[in-house]
């Protein structure tokens, strides 16, 4: 099953049993969704539950908030995270805060989902990552999974949860293949150990995790060590328990992300480790991230602006040598 099919299946299953679930967004209905995540749903559930919206992101999220207040469980799709900026007021000032401001009188069972990140030459206004901003907002859960099985379970959880969830996907993951275990009970807030190891803890998430996995064989060969790779899955809350267990074992931490180096999401992981795991660390942690530039169109420049399997391997090996790994 493809990643996008797993998402489709999760939405479909929930819609088929709970008629309060609706999904809305640009081209999610008749067109089948820009990335085909909502394909086939309008035929099954009709235009009143699979709602094509105008190009009005502030309203897409704002309407979803109102639908949730009115007793529905909306899933709002934004075509890409880049357009989520137009909805930041609704996401941050409304979706995240209404429950708290009302002292719990309002409940907002809703999901905002979108893909993000560097795809292929979509240029600066279509290639950004926004998890660092959204994971810093109290009142939002942020899920962002790499794995196909997790995609199914995490999205299903998000829809059924009574809390507002931002569900971040990646344009390059939609066609990823994987098995889904439909019978499993899976906690989407628990980090996934993508690979066990004993000498370096490498933390990543979303698409970059695949690049890390591609880099690992060379790292292990060159450094003669074994890497433990952790897929965060939930960006907020963070499963610190899994992280600390791993760091206690390896004493070394590497964080890899696609976001920019300055202020990117991984600063939270490194800052946490510096505060809470300082004495467990044998070496300065390493954080690999994108350059501090808007994403350029040209393919070579674009690839030079973010970590790649090659650059990850190279930089971790360099760091490993310098730090006696």
């Amino acid at each position: 099953m493809l990643y996008r099919e797993a998402l489709n299946r999760a939405i479909d299953e929930v819609m088929s049993v709970d008629e309060t679930v609706v999904t809305l967004g640009e081209d999610v209905g008749l067109y089948g969704g820009s990335f085909r995540v909502t394909e086939g749903l309008v035929e099954k559930y009709g235009e009143k539950r699979v709602i094509d919206t105008p190009i009005a992101e502030l309203s897409i999220v704002g309407n979803a908030v109102g639908m949730a207040i009115g007793g529905l469980r909306p899933i709002a799709e934004l075509m890409t995270g880049n357009f989520s900026l137009l909805a930041f007021d609704q996401i941050i000032n409304h979706m995240a805060k209404l429950r708290y401001m009302s002292n719990g009188k309002l409940t907002l069972p809703m999901v905002v989902r979108f893909p993000q990140g560097v795809s292929k030459q979509l240029a600066a206004q279509h290639s950004e990552s926004y998890e660092q901003m959204l994971s810093a907002v109290p009142g939002l859960r942020v899920l962002s999974v790499n794995d196909v099985n997790y995609a199914y379970h995490a999205l299903k959880y998000a829809i059924l949860s009574d809390d507002p969830v931002v569900f971040i996907e990646h344009e390059l993951l939609y066609n990823k293949k994987g098995e889904v275990d439909f019978t499993q009970e899976l906690d989407p807030f628990k980090a996934r150990i993508a690979k066990e190891g004993s000498d370096i803890t490498i933390v990543s998430y979303l698409k970059m995790l695949d690049d890390v996995m591609l880099a690992v064989p060379e790292i292990e060969k060159e450094l003669g060590c074994s890497c433990e790779v952790i897929d965060l899955c939930s960006l907020n809350p963070i499963d610190y328990a899994t992280l600390s267990k791993s760091i206690e074992k390896t004493s070394r931490l590497v964080m890899v992300e696609e976001d920019h180096k300055t202020g990117g999401y991984g600063t939270q992981i490194i800052a946490w480790a510096a505060e809470e795991m300082f004495y467990a660390l044998d070496a300065a942690p390493l954080r690999l991230a994108g350059e501090d530039v808007p994403i350029p169109y040209n393919r070579k420049l674009e690839l030079a602006s973010i970590p790649t399997p090659e650059s990850i391997a190279q930089k971790v090996i360099e760091w490993g040598r310098k730090n006696d790994v």
Partner: protein
């Protein structure tokens, strides 16, 4: 309208004004803080609109104390909220701008100008899907009709023929900026004309507001889609208690206060509903007493417990460390 309702409305208007003055007084004393937006001068509008929109959901702005009370939220729970007390309608976490009572279908107080309008659209969508008839009313000021959220909502509500009543309280000012300096014309209903049926009404005339909102809701209930009402009003005070109101001349203020909605409605009570001076006094005294009790209640209510700080961030209290 009948006499009973007229009396109730008069009660709510008088209550509203007394409440607002009491809130102001307690702001000066330091019992109330933050932004405090008083609705004095607009009581007729606020009470009539809410009472006319009998059933259905209501989304309002930050200038909503009187509306909340007209919707049936206890004055003492509103005052306690202004005092930031645990007994406040939002447990002391929201304050003056954030009064919420879903059991009364009142989703009150949004402090982002225009931010609640898309929410109202979404709720109208939900009601439509659920087959409920009463629809949704969203209230906002003239300064709100220049922002993207408002426009997008007109378009979406009209496209889906949603059961939504847009109610614009045009007091001609957004803080210190007159509407004629922020839009090309004074009448904001013009902006809604391409999309839906519009009404203009004198917002200082509670009876007229009542009738117009009733008619509009009927239209919505009959499935004709959204409606826009513009009510011209006047606020007597500054934008919030901390605004000196220096941008309006004494002349302008006098002109504005001459149309007092409470005096006007009192006359109607007397002339149309034949209320005696006694009956009216009884109402006024009751209102006064209710406000006094509300202040006392707020004063004597406990502060929220410290742990409340961490409560209701989420519905499911899930620890940050999961396993």
């Amino acid at each position: 309208m009948n006499k009973l309702l007229a009396e109730e409305m008069y009660y709510l208007m008088v209550l509203g004004r007394a409440f607002e003055y009491a809130a102001k007084e307690n702001y000066m004393k330091g019992n109330v803080s933050g932004f405090l937006h008083l609705d004095i001068g607009q009581e007729g509008f606020s009470v009539a609109a809410i009472k006319a929109f009998e059933k259905g959901d209501i989304f309002s702005t930050y200038r909503e104390h009187i509306m909340a009370m007209a919707r049936g939220i206890e004055p003492k729970a509103v005052m306690a909220e202004l005092f930031g007390k645990a007994t406040g309608v939002s447990g002391g976490k929201g304050g003056s701008m954030h009064l919420f009572e879903p059991s009364r279908f009142f989703y009150g107080g949004d402090a982002i100008v225009g931010g609640h309008i898309p929410n109202a659209v979404g709720c109208a969508y939900a009601r439509d899907l659920q087959g409920s008839e009463d629809g949704v009313m969203v209230i906002f000021g003239d300064g709100t009709t220049n922002g993207g959220a408002f426009f997008e909502s007109l378009n979406i509500a009209a496209t889906h023929k949603l059961p939504l009543l847009f109610l614009c309280e045009n007091n001609e000012y957004a803080i210190g900026t007159n509407i004629k300096r922020a839009a090309p014309f004074r009448e904001q209903a013009k902006k809604a004309e391409p999309y839906m049926l519009t009404y203009e009404v004198d917002g200082m005339d509670a009876e007229a507001v009542y009738k117009t909102v009733r008619e509009a809701q009927k239209n919505i209930q009959e499935g004709h889609g959204p409606v826009f009402i513009e009510a011209f009003t006047c606020r007597y005070e500054g934008h919030s208690v901390s605004d000196s109101n220096a941008y309006r001349s004494t002349q302008e203020m006098n002109h504005c206060k001459a149309k007092d909605p409470i005096k006007r409605f009192k006359k109607e009570l007397q002339e149309k509903w034949l209320c005696s001076e006694d009956e009216i006094q009884t109402i006024e005294q009751k209102a006064q007493k209710t406000v006094e009790e509300a202040v006392e209640y707020a004063q004597n209510s406990p502060e929220p417990q410290p742990n409340v700080l961490f409560e209701n961030v989420f519905y499911e209290e899930r620890k940050n460390v999961v396993s």
